[in-house]
Symmetry: C2
Subunit: 360 residues, 2 copies
């Protein structure tokens, strides 16, 4: 028997609030009956949706809170005003151990700012990252950072590799996930200094991951590695560009299949195949950005998604919750940062600053 796992859900987040969050949880519960939920938000708005799902109601608790973080509020404002909001309370529940993970479809910037404040970065982590699950022709891979921060130092990129590998270990059930560093061109030595330096660090690292060197943008979807590491600006652009290209090709395909009655007939006959394709390309299947590098798991669902899409984010919360991911990760990070500290001590004063790296 799998052990019970509790998720804290921000019932008010996203464009549709409880109308999507509660039915989404109900879908996920069918798949993972050992889940239980705490919903944070307006009790009166949540209640009717729970009433409609008796099985869910039996495994849920509602904590009323009147306050909601607006979808377009700036992170700094959300931090000042957001204490006691549904988003805040869901994260608090992870901190206190009441829940194993939090899921919110609310304002990304506010969620990240609150998560950093409430859950705090893990020891030695300068910046948390947002990890996306990216469908590949093989299966799926993890890409991070897809937008928590702009830019990343070599050390931060190396931390991202460890964070992503820990997530891949949990989700893909491989002990030494393959990791690649996103770069431009492989013909010659290219890329910026941070990427080159991270490459050197990762080649030497004794972490439980299998570093495969540089990968290019077109290799993400080929499933060349389990984890693709990139700083947040290029990572976010890559993710959005892939989404846009998928929509663009779907558009072309529809146009091509409706251009003549013959094509229409053919497409009608092949509709089983098109249904498979449509499912494959359905963005709701892989909804959920995971905040990694904090002392607790928080997942951001797309704000405009429906119940099926929100259920994917809840599924992800289920997979990552209570899996020992963070404990294992903490020890991997400590070991890497200790070595980094020792290496720069050995290198002497000329080898660069050791500040911050060696400390507990």
């Amino acid at each position: 028997m799998a052990e019970p796992r509790t998720l804290a859900l921000d019932a008010m987040g996203g464009d549709h609030g409880p109308g999507v969050v509660v039915p989404g949880a109900a879908i996920s519960l069918v798949r993972h009956p050992q889940l239980s939920f705490v919903f944070y938000g307006d009790e009166a708005a949540i209640a009717p949706h729970l009433e409609a799902n008796p099985d869910l109601k039996a495994r849920s608790r509602v904590v009323h809170t009147a306050q909601v973080v607006p979808m377009h509020e700036k992170p700094s404002q959300a931090l000042r005003r957001g204490k006691g909001s549904s988003m805040w309370m869901a994260l608090e529940a992870v901190k206190t151990g009441e829940a194993h993970a939090a899921v919110s479809a609310g304002n990304t910037g506010a969620l990240m700012a609150m998560a950093k404040l409430i859950l705090r970065p893990m020891r030695g982590i300068e910046r948390p990252a947002i990890a996306a699950i990216w469908p590949t022709i093989e299966a799926e891979c993890i890409v991070l950072d897809v937008g928590a921060n702009i830019g990343a130092s070599a050390r931060q990129l190396t931390d991202f590799a460890l964070l992503g590998a820990a997530m891949a270990r949990t989700l893909f059930h491989v002990e030494r996930p393959t990791v690649g560093l996103l770069n431009v061109g492989t013909e010659e030595v290219k890329g910026n200094e941070d990427v080159k330096e991270a490459h050197a660090l990762l080649k030497d690292i004794a972490a439980p991951l299998d570093y495969r060197g540089f990968v290019e943008g077109d290799e993400i979807g080929q499933g060349k590695v389990d984890v693709v590491v990139v700083e947040g600006f290029a990572g976010n652009i890559a993710l959005k560009t892939a989404e846009g290209t998928a929509r663009q090709i779907t558009h072309y395909l529809k146009a091509a299949m409706t251009r003549s009655w013959v094509s229409k007939v053919g497409a009608m006959i092949a509709r089983g195949g098109f249904r498979v394709l449509k499912e494959k390309l359905d963005p709701r299947r892989v909804n959920g950005g995971t905040f990694l590098g904090l002392n607790g798991i928080a997942i951001k669902s797309h704000g405009g998604t429906d119940a099926l899409g929100f259920a994917s984010a809840v599924d992800l919360g289920y997979e990552l919750a209570g899996s020992g991911l963070l404990e294992r990760l903490a020890s991997d990070l400590d070991s890497f940062h200790n070595k980094l500290g020792k290496a720069s001590e050995t290198a002497g004063p000329a080898g660069g600053s050791t500040s911050g790296d060696g400390g507990a």
Copy 2:
């Protein structure tokens, strides 16, 4: 009557050399009969391909050169050793005015290094950019920089906007092309400092372009703007990611259409539609990276392409050659840089350095 245009072709560049370059030129000549060519490379290797195309032969000249830049040579080495190579000579022909543009399928880094040395950056341009033509659901747009350099200052990004607008004016026949700055998120003020500063410059600029603000990765393929401006690291990753996603979906589509005999029959009936789609997604249709910001047009064809793909790069050379693009661009750049110089003079010593900006 359209006036004659001469292109200088590096016959030895790319994976296949004259076997692709010469037949590619022949295809383009059928479309643009006013073209004439100078082929640079091994005369003995070029001759048989020209013999096979009498129409092309009648409009071509061959300049023999024994030296070839290897595909994987480092740019610095190519510069030292490459004088007199087929690539070098093709660029020289643009400099001397013998040809209106040069096209090469050779080593990108070497071509850019030589082009900078031989053609020289335009007055006021710190860094040339590589511009890609990106298919959209509307038509096409131009994305730059897709990999000439890593990173770009606000001023360089603004220069890219002017360069891209000049190219769009020529290719798309619009007087004030729409321009967007690639960024992450629009919910709040995001992005790095250079992008924010470029945004401020572009909002005020009195250039012949219609600045539309930030665009995100998924909006490139939607055809939201004619020109998308981004620094080369993220731009290259976006381009490659889009290519990879297109291949990935084609893979899914094939799998979906062959999964059962019913799908196969349907796909067979709809094959006319699939042919249209295949043409739409054919990467050979938009082959060619344009080097912008130099005193002459140089085009990089994909190294592994076939004659049809090389012909697209030649077509692009035809469109951009002799169009008055550079003359017009030079005056737009001067006007922008003069204003920039004056603005920083007005701002006084505290407003930043005016060095280099105001000079002729």
